[in-house]
Amino acid sequence: MSWDVSKIGEWKNDEFPRGAVIPDSGNSRDYVTGGWRSERPCRDDAKCTQCLFCWIYCPDSAVNVADEKVTTFNLDHCKGCGVCANICPVDAITMVPEGCELPEVK
């Protein structure tokens, strides 16, 4: 089955599955948790050796990889913990304050 939660914000008491059960699997990707983040990872492609340590260590599976190469970070789920920056052997990842690249913040 596919659990449609698009109207979850409007559901009333008995419209929710009883006992807070989630009646389907594989839907945690629909639950956006990146809003907690105060810093975001910024990867320098020139320094990066594509060792994939960040992909292995990321506790939220938020490092996107294509063809065995790191491409971007999934900012819907990255919580900005900095594990990737800490583990990177060539210091290719730096944590930058969230929102700093916005013109009004600079």
């Binding site: 009333k12 009883r18 006992g19 807070a20 989630i22 699997s25």
Partner: protein, 395 residues
């Protein structure tokens, strides 16, 4: 045709017998006086192959209820039993079981809480659990403990309810005294409780479900609590209909509130559990002398039967509530608070007095109950004022 036999047994033996007849898939329990003989008896049934229950021995009540929650979420019919410090130790899991809407049935042998340490009867333990979202039934006798246990399974698993149920009996007085009781044949009980069909079994390989998820900030926690309130409100009708159905089969009456002498009573005692028998005994004697006294016994405490209680008490001139538990700093004990609140809806104000009695198993002598009726008669006659809160029989 249902076949019953009359036996002499303790309340605990009868609860264990009822549990065996309801055939739970799983039981996790930890021994504690005066509950121990329930799970001891049940373990014997398992060892002798008389029931096919996965019996899990755990290291504490905290673990017992945790294991029960896991098994119930997995889709099993689950039962356990505890008492006093054990129930207190389960406190956080009690809320989890009801919040996850798991129809676990647990027997509680009502016993005092430490300190000072005491193993005897009062209702401090169970009253401490009154806001945990469980349906709570009280037994006066071993027979009621047996009947309530069987009814609990049906109430808990009813699709309109799906809440855990505590079936309680008074420590030692009911758990350990040998009493006369009628026991139903296995087939009739088995047909009455039926097979449990879980709604969201964790162990269903065809359907992946998650139990115990987060519903935090901005989430629907508030809505889940509202649906729990609606469920326990719906349980009122379920308790009554399941009770009526079991009454029909067993020939024994069941009421959320059961009364004695209330057809013409001018004063009444409201009481829970084993002391109801003492109160009726005293009332019978006083009525023979011409005093119009009555007794109202509350058999179902959660959901609290306020409508039935008001109906029973509406004609009286004074009410005494016997509380076998404290609610320190409140206006009275837990039962008093409920009763007084229920009486608020009446157009006429009925004077009410709270008597805290029998804590830690202290004796409930008939003279004490007689004194309560006499106090009430004085209040009804206008010769005395309600005393507020009284420690009945205190030195």
């Amino acid at each position: 045709m249902p076949k019953q036999k009359t036996i002499a047994a303790t309340g605990n033996v009868l609860v264990a017998e009822a549990m065996r007849q309801c055939a739970p898939d799983m039981m996790a329990a930890y021994p504690i006086t005066p509950q121990t003989t329930i799970v001891e008896e049940f373990a014997k049934f398992v060892a002798n192959g008389r029931v096919h229950t996965e019996y899990v021995t755990v290291e504490s009540e905290h673990s017992a209820m945790s294991a029960c929650i896991g098994a119930s979420a997995a889709g099993a019919r689950v039962m356990t039993a505890t008492s006093s410090q054990g129930l207190a130790y389960m406190w956080e899991e009690l809320h989890i079981a009801s919040g996850m809407r798991l129809p676990i049935v647990m027997a509680n042998a009502n016993r005092a809480l430490s300190a000072p340490i005491n193993i005897h009867c009062d209702h401090s333990d169970i009253m401490g659990a009154r806001d945990t979202g469980w349906v709570i039934l009280f037994a006066e006798t071993a027979q009621e403990a047996y009947d309530n246990t069987i009814m609990s399974v049906r109430i808990a698993e009813h699709p309109d309810v799906l809440l855990p149920v505590m079936t309680t009996l008074d420590g030692f007085i009911t758990t350990h005294s040998i009493d006369r009781a009628e026991v139903m044949d296995d087939e009739t009980v088995s047909a009455f409780v039926g097979q449990y069909v879980p709604e969201n079994a964790l162990l269903d390989p065809e359907r992946n479900v998650t139990h115990g998820a987060f519903a935090g900030l901005g989430g629907p926690y508030f809505e889940f609590k509202h649906s729990q309130r609606l469920a326990i409100e719906r349980s009122r009708d379920v308790v009554k209909s399941v009770g009526a159905e079991w009454s029909e089969i067993s020939g024994r009456p069941f009421g959320m509130v059961e009364t004695f002498g209330m057809e013409d009573a001018e004063v009444a005692i409201v009481v829970i559990g084993s002391t109801a028998g003492n109160a009726r005994h005293v009332a019978r004697g006083l009525r023979a002398q011409g005093m119009k006294v009555g007794v109202v016994k509350v058999r179902c405490f959660r959901p609290f039967p306020y409508a039935e209680l008001v109906q029973a008490l509406s004609g009286v001139k004074a009410v005494a509530v016997l509380d076998r538990a404290e609610s320190f700093g409140a206006e009275g004990g837990p039962l008093y608070l409920e009763v007084r609140s229920a009486l608020y809806d009446l157009a006429t104000r009925i004077p009410a007095v709270d008597y805290i009695y029998g804590l830690g198993g202290s004796d409930v002598k008939t003279e004490l109950i007689e004194r309560v009726f006499n106090d009430l008669a004085d209040i009804a006659a206008g010769t005395a004022e309600p005393a507020g809160l009284v420690y009945l029989g205190a030195r």
